[in-house]
Symmetry: C2
Subunit: 230 residues, 2 copies
Amino acid sequence: MKNIIGILGGMGPAATADMFQKFIQFTPAHCDQEHIPLVISSIPDIPDRTTSILRGGESPLLAMEERIYGLENAGAKCILIACNTAHYWYDELKEKCHVDMLNIIDSTINEVLQMGKTKIGILATDATLATKLYQKTLEKYGLICLLPNEEHQKSVMESIYLYKSGEIQKAEELMLIQRDELIRYGAEVIILGCTEIPLILKNAMREQPTLYEDSTAALVRAAIRWYQTH
Amino acid sequence: MKNIIGILGGMGPAATADMFQKFIQFTPAHCDQEHIPLVISSIPDIPDRTTSILRGGESPLLAMEERIYGLENAGAKCILIACNTAHYWYDELKEKCHVDMLNIIDSTINEVLQMGKTKIGILATDATLATKLYQKTLEKYGLICLLPNEEHQKSVMESIYLYKSGEIQKAEELMLIQRDELIRYGAEVIILGCTEIPLILKNAMREQPTLYEDSTAALVRAAIRWYQTH
Protein backbone atom coordinates (compact mmCIF):
# COMPACT_ATOMS: atom_id res chain seq x y z
CA MET A 1 0.00 0.00 0.00
CA LYS A 2 1.36 3.40 -0.97
CA ASN A 3 1.67 6.42 1.35
CA ILE A 4 -2.00 7.24 1.74
CA ILE A 5 -3.00 10.81 2.58
CA GLY A 6 -5.96 11.17 4.95
CA ILE A 7 -8.28 14.18 4.83
CA LEU A 8 -10.13 15.12 8.00
CA GLY A 9 -13.08 16.86 6.38
CA GLY A 10 -16.79 17.43 6.79
CA MET A 11 -16.18 21.03 7.95
CA GLY A 12 -18.06 21.42 5.62
CA PRO A 13 -18.54 18.64 3.09
CA ALA A 14 -18.40 20.96 0.05
CA ALA A 15 -14.99 22.27 1.15
CA THR A 16 -13.82 18.67 1.54
CA ALA A 17 -15.03 17.78 -1.96
CA ASP A 18 -13.18 20.88 -3.23
CA MET A 19 -9.95 19.63 -1.63
CA PHE A 20 -10.48 16.20 -3.27
CA GLN A 21 -11.07 17.90 -6.67
CA LYS A 22 -7.88 19.94 -6.26
CA PHE A 23 -5.86 16.76 -5.65
CA ILE A 24 -7.19 15.35 -8.93
CA GLN A 25 -6.66 18.62 -10.80
CA PHE A 26 -3.09 19.26 -9.53
CA THR A 27 -1.79 15.69 -10.07
CA PRO A 28 -0.29 15.10 -13.51
CA ALA A 29 -1.81 11.63 -13.99
CA HIS A 30 -2.37 9.69 -17.21
CA CYS A 31 -4.43 6.87 -15.69
CA ASP A 32 -6.29 6.06 -12.46
CA GLN A 33 -3.27 4.35 -10.94
CA GLU A 34 -1.08 7.49 -11.11
CA HIS A 35 -3.38 9.52 -8.83
CA ILE A 36 -2.48 10.15 -5.19
CA PRO A 37 -4.06 7.67 -2.76
CA LEU A 38 -6.53 9.41 -0.47
CA VAL A 39 -8.81 8.42 2.36
CA ILE A 40 -11.37 11.09 3.15
CA SER A 41 -13.45 11.46 6.27
CA SER A 42 -16.49 13.66 5.67
CA ILE A 43 -18.42 12.95 8.87
CA PRO A 44 -19.87 16.37 9.50
CA ASP A 45 -21.45 16.11 12.95
CA ILE A 46 -18.46 17.92 14.43
CA PRO A 47 -19.36 20.78 16.81
CA ASP A 48 -19.07 24.19 15.12
CA ARG A 49 -15.52 25.50 15.48
CA THR A 50 -16.28 29.22 15.66
CA THR A 51 -19.08 28.72 18.20
CA SER A 52 -16.75 26.67 20.38
CA ILE A 53 -13.88 29.19 20.34
CA LEU A 54 -15.86 32.42 20.66
CA ARG A 55 -19.02 31.48 22.53
CA GLY A 56 -17.91 28.56 24.71
CA GLY A 57 -19.83 25.97 22.67
CA GLU A 58 -19.02 22.26 22.76
CA SER A 59 -15.44 21.55 21.68
CA PRO A 60 -14.90 19.74 18.38
CA LEU A 61 -11.60 18.30 19.65
CA LEU A 62 -12.81 14.81 20.61
CA ALA A 63 -14.81 14.39 17.39
CA MET A 64 -11.77 15.40 15.32
CA GLU A 65 -9.51 13.04 17.29
CA GLU A 66 -11.92 10.16 16.68
CA ARG A 67 -11.95 10.85 12.93
CA ILE A 68 -8.14 11.05 12.79
CA TYR A 69 -7.95 7.58 14.35
CA GLY A 70 -10.49 6.39 11.75
CA LEU A 71 -8.21 7.70 8.99
CA GLU A 72 -5.16 6.06 10.59
CA ASN A 73 -7.09 2.77 10.81
CA ALA A 74 -7.91 3.09 7.11
CA GLY A 75 -4.17 3.34 6.37
CA ALA A 76 -3.46 7.10 6.24
CA LYS A 77 0.21 8.03 6.68
CA CYS A 78 -0.24 11.82 6.58
CA ILE A 79 -3.27 13.81 7.78
CA LEU A 80 -4.66 17.07 6.40
CA ILE A 81 -7.42 19.05 8.11
CA ALA A 82 -9.77 20.63 5.56
CA CYS A 83 -10.75 23.57 7.79
CA ASN A 84 -8.72 26.63 8.78
CA THR A 85 -10.53 27.37 12.06
CA ALA A 86 -9.98 23.79 13.24
CA HIS A 87 -6.23 24.54 13.19
CA TYR A 88 -6.76 26.28 16.53
CA TRP A 89 -6.50 22.69 17.88
CA TYR A 90 -3.66 21.70 15.50
CA ASP A 91 -0.95 21.23 18.15
CA GLU A 92 -3.22 19.12 20.36
CA LEU A 93 -4.32 16.97 17.40
CA LYS A 94 -0.76 16.57 16.15
CA GLU A 95 0.27 15.29 19.57
CA LYS A 96 -2.47 12.63 19.53
CA CYS A 97 -1.87 11.67 15.90
CA HIS A 98 0.45 8.72 15.14
CA VAL A 99 1.36 9.75 11.60
CA ASP A 100 2.51 12.93 9.83
CA MET A 101 0.24 15.96 9.77
CA LEU A 102 0.45 19.06 7.55
CA ASN A 103 -0.75 22.55 8.54
CA ILE A 104 -3.01 24.61 6.25
CA ILE A 105 -1.96 27.93 7.84
CA ASP A 106 1.77 27.24 7.39
CA SER A 107 1.26 25.98 3.82
CA THR A 108 -0.70 29.13 2.92
CA ILE A 109 1.75 31.53 4.57
CA ASN A 110 4.70 29.81 2.84
CA GLU A 111 3.12 30.60 -0.51
CA VAL A 112 2.26 34.19 0.49
CA LEU A 113 5.88 34.81 1.52
CA GLN A 114 7.04 33.79 -1.94
CA MET A 115 4.77 36.40 -3.57
CA GLY A 116 6.80 39.38 -2.35
CA LYS A 117 3.68 41.41 -1.45
CA THR A 118 3.41 43.37 1.80
CA LYS A 119 -0.30 44.16 2.28
CA ILE A 120 -2.18 40.94 2.89
CA GLY A 121 -5.98 40.86 3.14
CA ILE A 122 -7.54 37.99 5.06
CA LEU A 123 -11.03 36.57 4.57
CA ALA A 124 -11.66 34.01 7.29
CA THR A 125 -14.04 33.11 10.10
CA ASP A 126 -14.37 35.27 13.22
CA ALA A 127 -12.56 32.60 15.21
CA THR A 128 -9.64 32.25 12.78
CA LEU A 129 -9.14 36.03 12.99
CA ALA A 130 -9.71 36.28 16.77
CA THR A 131 -7.13 33.55 17.45
CA LYS A 132 -4.72 35.29 15.02
CA LEU A 133 -3.91 32.01 13.29
CA TYR A 134 -2.68 33.94 10.24
CA GLN A 135 -1.71 37.33 11.72
CA LYS A 136 0.80 35.99 14.28
CA THR A 137 3.14 34.58 11.62
CA LEU A 138 2.51 37.15 8.88
CA GLU A 139 3.32 40.04 11.25
CA LYS A 140 6.45 38.24 12.44
CA TYR A 141 7.64 38.49 8.83
CA GLY A 142 6.85 42.22 8.77
CA LEU A 143 3.78 41.89 6.55
CA ILE A 144 0.70 44.07 7.08
CA CYS A 145 -2.54 42.19 7.71
CA LEU A 146 -5.73 43.85 6.48
CA LEU A 147 -8.96 42.56 8.03
CA PRO A 148 -12.58 43.53 7.40
CA ASN A 149 -13.96 45.93 10.01
CA GLU A 150 -16.48 44.59 12.53
CA GLU A 151 -19.53 45.21 10.36
CA HIS A 152 -17.94 43.71 7.25
CA GLN A 153 -16.64 40.72 9.19
CA LYS A 154 -20.25 40.00 10.24
CA SER A 155 -21.06 39.77 6.53
CA VAL A 156 -18.11 37.42 5.90
CA MET A 157 -19.58 35.03 8.49
CA GLU A 158 -23.08 35.45 7.09
CA SER A 159 -21.77 34.57 3.63
CA ILE A 160 -20.01 31.42 4.91
CA TYR A 161 -23.14 30.16 6.70
CA LEU A 162 -25.32 31.08 3.68
CA TYR A 163 -23.04 28.91 1.53
CA LYS A 164 -23.19 26.04 4.00
CA SER A 165 -27.00 26.26 3.92
CA GLY A 166 -27.07 26.01 0.12
CA GLU A 167 -27.66 29.74 -0.63
CA ILE A 168 -24.74 29.88 -3.03
CA GLN A 169 -25.56 33.01 -5.03
CA LYS A 170 -26.42 35.12 -2.00
CA ALA A 171 -23.19 33.95 -0.37
CA GLU A 172 -21.17 35.03 -3.42
CA GLU A 173 -22.79 38.48 -3.68
CA LEU A 174 -22.13 39.17 -0.02
CA MET A 175 -18.52 37.95 -0.08
CA LEU A 176 -17.64 40.01 -3.15
CA ILE A 177 -18.53 43.17 -1.20
CA GLN A 178 -16.12 42.16 1.59
CA ARG A 179 -13.40 41.39 -0.94
CA ASP A 180 -13.84 44.86 -2.50
CA GLU A 181 -13.54 46.39 0.97
CA LEU A 182 -10.15 44.69 1.52
CA ILE A 183 -8.97 45.95 -1.87
CA ARG A 184 -10.11 49.45 -0.87
CA TYR A 185 -7.91 49.12 2.26
CA GLY A 186 -4.98 48.40 -0.05
CA ALA A 187 -4.75 44.58 -0.04
CA GLU A 188 -2.37 43.34 -2.76
CA VAL A 189 -3.29 39.70 -2.21
CA ILE A 190 -6.20 38.18 -0.29
CA ILE A 191 -5.84 34.99 1.71
CA LEU A 192 -8.96 32.83 1.40
CA GLY A 193 -8.44 31.55 4.92
CA CYS A 194 -11.60 29.46 5.24
CA THR A 195 -12.03 26.40 3.02
CA GLU A 196 -15.55 27.48 2.02
CA ILE A 197 -14.37 30.80 0.58
CA PRO A 198 -12.60 29.43 -2.55
CA LEU A 199 -15.99 27.89 -3.39
CA ILE A 200 -17.90 31.11 -2.68
CA LEU A 201 -15.45 33.17 -4.79
CA LYS A 202 -14.96 30.52 -7.50
CA ASN A 203 -15.98 32.84 -10.35
CA ALA A 204 -13.97 35.79 -9.05
CA MET A 205 -10.87 33.59 -8.72
CA ARG A 206 -11.20 32.55 -12.36
CA GLU A 207 -11.22 36.24 -13.39
CA GLN A 208 -8.22 37.35 -11.28
CA PRO A 209 -6.32 34.25 -10.17
CA THR A 210 -3.26 36.14 -8.87
CA LEU A 211 -5.29 38.31 -6.47
CA TYR A 212 -6.04 35.34 -4.20
CA GLU A 213 -4.16 32.87 -2.07
CA ASP A 214 -6.42 29.80 -1.75
CA SER A 215 -5.64 27.96 1.51
CA THR A 216 -7.14 24.68 0.24
CA ALA A 217 -4.95 24.76 -2.86
CA ALA A 218 -1.85 25.61 -0.79
CA LEU A 219 -2.41 22.61 1.50
CA VAL A 220 -3.00 20.29 -1.47
CA ARG A 221 0.25 21.45 -3.11
CA ALA A 222 2.12 20.86 0.18
CA ALA A 223 0.56 17.38 0.43
CA ILE A 224 1.55 16.50 -3.14
CA ARG A 225 5.14 17.49 -2.27
CA TRP A 226 4.92 15.32 0.88
CA TYR A 227 3.71 12.40 -1.24
CA GLN A 228 6.44 12.85 -3.85
CA THR A 229 9.17 12.81 -1.18
CA HIS A 230 7.89 9.88 0.93
CA MET B 1 -21.19 8.04 15.63
CA LYS B 2 -23.92 8.02 12.98
CA ASN B 3 -24.39 5.38 10.27
CA ILE B 4 -21.38 6.18 8.13
CA ILE B 5 -21.48 5.31 4.44
CA GLY B 6 -18.19 4.10 2.96
CA ILE B 7 -17.30 4.67 -0.70
CA LEU B 8 -14.86 2.25 -2.32
CA GLY B 9 -13.55 4.57 -5.02
CA GLY B 10 -10.41 5.43 -6.93
CA MET B 11 -11.77 3.71 -10.06
CA GLY B 12 -11.18 6.48 -11.08
CA PRO B 13 -10.73 9.35 -8.64
CA ALA B 14 -12.82 11.83 -10.68
CA ALA B 15 -15.79 9.44 -10.64
CA THR B 16 -15.37 9.10 -6.87
CA ALA B 17 -15.33 12.90 -6.46
CA ASP B 18 -18.49 13.02 -8.60
CA MET B 19 -20.22 10.56 -6.26
CA PHE B 20 -19.16 12.70 -3.26
CA GLN B 21 -20.54 15.84 -5.00
CA LYS B 22 -23.84 14.07 -5.69
CA PHE B 23 -24.22 13.19 -2.01
CA ILE B 24 -23.81 16.88 -1.14
CA GLN B 25 -26.12 18.01 -3.94
CA PHE B 26 -28.93 15.49 -3.21
CA THR B 27 -28.98 15.98 0.58
CA PRO B 28 -31.36 18.72 1.74
CA ALA B 29 -29.01 20.16 4.41
CA HIS B 30 -29.06 23.58 6.05
CA CYS B 31 -25.73 23.25 7.86
CA ASP B 32 -22.63 21.02 7.88
CA GLN B 33 -24.04 18.75 10.56
CA GLU B 34 -27.09 17.73 8.45
CA HIS B 35 -24.98 16.18 5.68
CA ILE B 36 -24.61 12.42 5.38
CA PRO B 37 -21.46 11.03 7.04
CA LEU B 38 -19.11 9.57 4.46
CA VAL B 39 -15.74 7.86 4.47
CA ILE B 40 -14.20 7.71 1.04
CA SER B 41 -11.36 5.50 -0.15
CA SER B 42 -9.76 6.84 -3.30
CA ILE B 43 -6.65 4.65 -3.42
CA PRO B 44 -6.39 4.15 -7.15
CA ASP B 45 -3.65 1.54 -7.56
CA ILE B 46 -6.31 -1.11 -8.14
CA PRO B 47 -5.65 -3.36 -11.16
CA ASP B 48 -7.74 -2.32 -14.18
CA ARG B 49 -11.12 -4.07 -14.07
CA THR B 50 -11.71 -4.43 -17.81
CA THR B 51 -8.18 -5.73 -18.43
CA SER B 52 -8.63 -8.32 -15.70
CA ILE B 53 -11.99 -9.62 -16.97
CA LEU B 54 -11.33 -9.62 -20.71
CA ARG B 55 -7.59 -10.13 -21.04
CA GLY B 56 -6.71 -12.15 -17.95
CA GLY B 57 -4.88 -9.27 -16.25
CA GLU B 58 -4.25 -9.18 -12.51
CA SER B 59 -7.47 -9.37 -10.50
CA PRO B 60 -8.51 -6.25 -8.55
CA LEU B 61 -10.36 -8.42 -6.00
CA LEU B 62 -7.72 -8.44 -3.23
CA ALA B 63 -7.07 -4.70 -3.55
CA MET B 64 -10.80 -3.99 -3.31
CA GLU B 65 -11.17 -6.31 -0.30
CA GLU B 66 -8.32 -4.53 1.48
CA ARG B 67 -9.95 -1.13 0.87
CA ILE B 68 -13.33 -2.37 2.13
CA TYR B 69 -11.68 -3.45 5.39
CA GLY B 70 -10.06 0.01 5.59
CA LEU B 71 -13.51 1.60 5.27
CA GLU B 72 -14.94 -0.75 7.91
CA ASN B 73 -12.05 0.15 10.24
CA ALA B 74 -12.85 3.83 9.69
CA GLY B 75 -16.42 3.16 10.86
CA ALA B 76 -18.42 2.55 7.65
CA LYS B 77 -21.72 0.73 8.16
CA CYS B 78 -22.70 0.51 4.47
CA ILE B 79 -20.36 0.20 1.48
CA LEU B 80 -20.84 1.58 -2.05
CA ILE B 81 -18.52 0.71 -4.95
CA ALA B 82 -18.02 3.70 -7.24
CA CYS B 83 -17.38 1.60 -10.37
CA ASN B 84 -19.83 -0.41 -12.47
CA THR B 85 -17.32 -2.90 -13.89
CA ALA B 86 -16.09 -3.74 -10.37
CA HIS B 87 -19.58 -5.12 -9.68
CA TYR B 88 -18.48 -8.25 -11.55
CA TRP B 89 -16.94 -9.15 -8.14
CA TYR B 90 -19.91 -7.80 -6.12
CA ASP B 91 -21.09 -11.15 -4.71
CA GLU B 92 -17.57 -12.14 -3.64
CA LEU B 93 -16.97 -8.74 -2.01
CA LYS B 94 -20.36 -8.77 -0.29
CA GLU B 95 -19.52 -12.15 1.23
CA LYS B 96 -16.24 -10.81 2.68
CA CYS B 97 -17.77 -7.54 3.86
CA HIS B 98 -19.00 -7.30 7.48
CA VAL B 99 -21.47 -4.45 6.93
CA ASP B 100 -24.23 -3.62 4.42
CA MET B 101 -23.39 -3.14 0.76
CA LEU B 102 -25.49 -1.54 -1.99
CA ASN B 103 -25.32 -2.48 -5.68
CA ILE B 104 -24.97 0.17 -8.40
CA ILE B 105 -26.44 -2.09 -11.12
CA ASP B 106 -29.57 -2.90 -9.08
CA SER B 107 -30.03 0.74 -8.04
CA THR B 108 -29.81 1.87 -11.67
CA ILE B 109 -32.13 -0.82 -13.01
CA ASN B 110 -34.70 -0.04 -10.29
CA GLU B 111 -34.88 3.52 -11.55
CA VAL B 112 -35.04 2.44 -15.22
CA LEU B 113 -37.97 0.13 -14.47
CA GLN B 114 -39.91 3.06 -13.00
CA MET B 115 -39.50 5.04 -16.24
CA GLY B 116 -41.85 2.83 -18.29
CA LYS B 117 -39.54 2.85 -21.34
CA THR B 118 -38.77 -0.32 -23.31
CA LYS B 119 -35.70 0.43 -25.44
CA ILE B 120 -32.71 0.94 -23.18
CA GLY B 121 -29.34 2.05 -24.54
CA ILE B 122 -26.25 1.19 -22.50
CA LEU B 123 -22.94 3.06 -22.47
CA ALA B 124 -20.48 1.08 -20.37
CA THR B 125 -17.06 -0.58 -20.48
CA ASP B 126 -16.37 -3.62 -22.65
CA ALA B 127 -16.25 -5.77 -19.53
CA THR B 128 -19.53 -4.49 -18.08
CA LEU B 129 -21.21 -5.34 -21.40
CA ALA B 130 -19.41 -8.69 -21.91
CA THR B 131 -20.40 -9.88 -18.44
CA LYS B 132 -23.98 -8.69 -19.10
CA LEU B 133 -24.17 -6.96 -15.71
CA TYR B 134 -27.06 -4.82 -17.01
CA GLN B 135 -28.53 -6.96 -19.81
CA LYS B 136 -29.25 -10.04 -17.66
CA THR B 137 -31.76 -8.24 -15.44
CA LEU B 138 -33.16 -5.79 -18.00
CA GLU B 139 -33.99 -8.63 -20.42
CA LYS B 140 -35.60 -10.62 -17.60
CA TYR B 141 -38.05 -7.72 -17.33
CA GLY B 142 -38.71 -7.86 -21.07
CA LEU B 143 -36.80 -4.67 -21.88
CA ILE B 144 -34.74 -4.36 -25.07
CA CYS B 145 -31.04 -3.56 -24.56
CA LEU B 146 -29.35 -1.50 -27.26
CA LEU B 147 -25.54 -1.63 -27.29
CA PRO B 148 -23.01 0.11 -29.54
CA ASN B 149 -21.69 -2.13 -32.34
CA GLU B 150 -18.12 -3.42 -32.06
CA GLU B 151 -16.54 -0.41 -33.75
CA HIS B 152 -18.54 2.12 -31.72
CA GLN B 153 -17.87 0.24 -28.49
CA LYS B 154 -14.14 0.64 -29.18
CA SER B 155 -14.74 4.38 -29.22
CA VAL B 156 -16.68 4.21 -25.93
CA MET B 157 -13.61 2.64 -24.31
CA GLU B 158 -11.29 5.11 -25.98
CA SER B 159 -13.39 7.97 -24.61
CA ILE B 160 -13.31 6.56 -21.06
CA TYR B 161 -9.52 6.17 -21.09
CA LEU B 162 -9.10 9.62 -22.71
CA TYR B 163 -11.10 11.09 -19.82
CA LYS B 164 -9.02 9.21 -17.24
CA SER B 165 -5.87 10.59 -18.87
CA GLY B 166 -7.14 14.17 -18.59
CA GLU B 167 -8.23 14.62 -22.25
CA ILE B 168 -11.68 15.79 -21.24
CA GLN B 169 -12.84 17.55 -24.41
CA LYS B 170 -11.71 14.77 -26.75
CA ALA B 171 -13.45 12.25 -24.50
CA GLU B 172 -16.70 14.24 -24.69
CA GLU B 173 -16.64 14.62 -28.48
CA LEU B 174 -16.08 10.91 -28.95
CA MET B 175 -18.75 9.84 -26.45
CA LEU B 176 -21.39 12.12 -27.99
CA ILE B 177 -21.03 10.23 -31.28
CA GLN B 178 -21.67 6.92 -29.49
CA ARG B 179 -24.68 8.39 -27.71
CA ASP B 180 -26.12 9.56 -31.07
CA GLU B 181 -25.62 6.05 -32.43
CA LEU B 182 -27.71 4.55 -29.60
CA ILE B 183 -30.43 7.13 -30.26
CA ARG B 184 -30.34 6.16 -33.97
CA TYR B 185 -30.91 2.52 -32.88
CA GLY B 186 -34.06 3.70 -31.07
CA ALA B 187 -32.90 4.11 -27.46
CA GLU B 188 -35.51 5.95 -25.37
CA VAL B 189 -33.23 6.20 -22.36
CA ILE B 190 -29.48 5.65 -22.07
CA ILE B 191 -27.91 4.08 -19.01
CA LEU B 192 -24.59 5.74 -18.17
CA GLY B 193 -23.25 2.46 -16.86
CA CYS B 194 -19.69 3.53 -16.10
CA THR B 195 -19.08 6.12 -13.39
CA GLU B 196 -16.81 8.17 -15.68
CA ILE B 197 -19.55 8.66 -18.30
CA PRO B 198 -21.74 11.10 -16.31
CA LEU B 199 -18.62 13.29 -16.14
CA ILE B 200 -17.86 12.90 -19.84
CA LEU B 201 -21.47 13.73 -20.80
CA LYS B 202 -21.99 16.39 -18.12
CA ASN B 203 -22.99 19.10 -20.59
CA ALA B 204 -25.27 16.82 -22.61
CA MET B 205 -27.03 15.68 -19.41
CA ARG B 206 -27.75 19.29 -18.52
CA GLU B 207 -29.41 19.81 -21.92
CA GLN B 208 -31.59 16.66 -21.86
CA PRO B 209 -31.70 15.34 -18.30
CA THR B 210 -34.51 12.82 -18.93
CA LEU B 211 -32.61 11.04 -21.73
CA TYR B 212 -30.08 9.58 -19.31
CA GLU B 213 -30.01 7.24 -16.35
CA ASP B 214 -26.88 8.13 -14.36
CA SER B 215 -25.68 5.07 -12.42
CA THR B 216 -23.70 7.19 -9.92
CA ALA B 217 -26.78 9.29 -9.12
CA ALA B 218 -28.96 6.17 -8.78
CA LEU B 219 -26.55 4.62 -6.26
CA VAL B 220 -26.34 7.86 -4.27
CA ARG B 221 -30.15 8.09 -4.10
CA ALA B 222 -30.32 4.46 -2.91
CA ALA B 223 -27.66 5.21 -0.28
CA ILE B 224 -29.53 8.29 0.97
CA ARG B 225 -32.64 6.08 1.38
CA TRP B 226 -30.50 3.51 3.27
CA TYR B 227 -29.23 6.28 5.55
CA GLN B 228 -32.70 7.68 6.20
CA THR B 229 -34.03 4.25 7.22
CA HIS B 230 -31.11 3.13 9.42
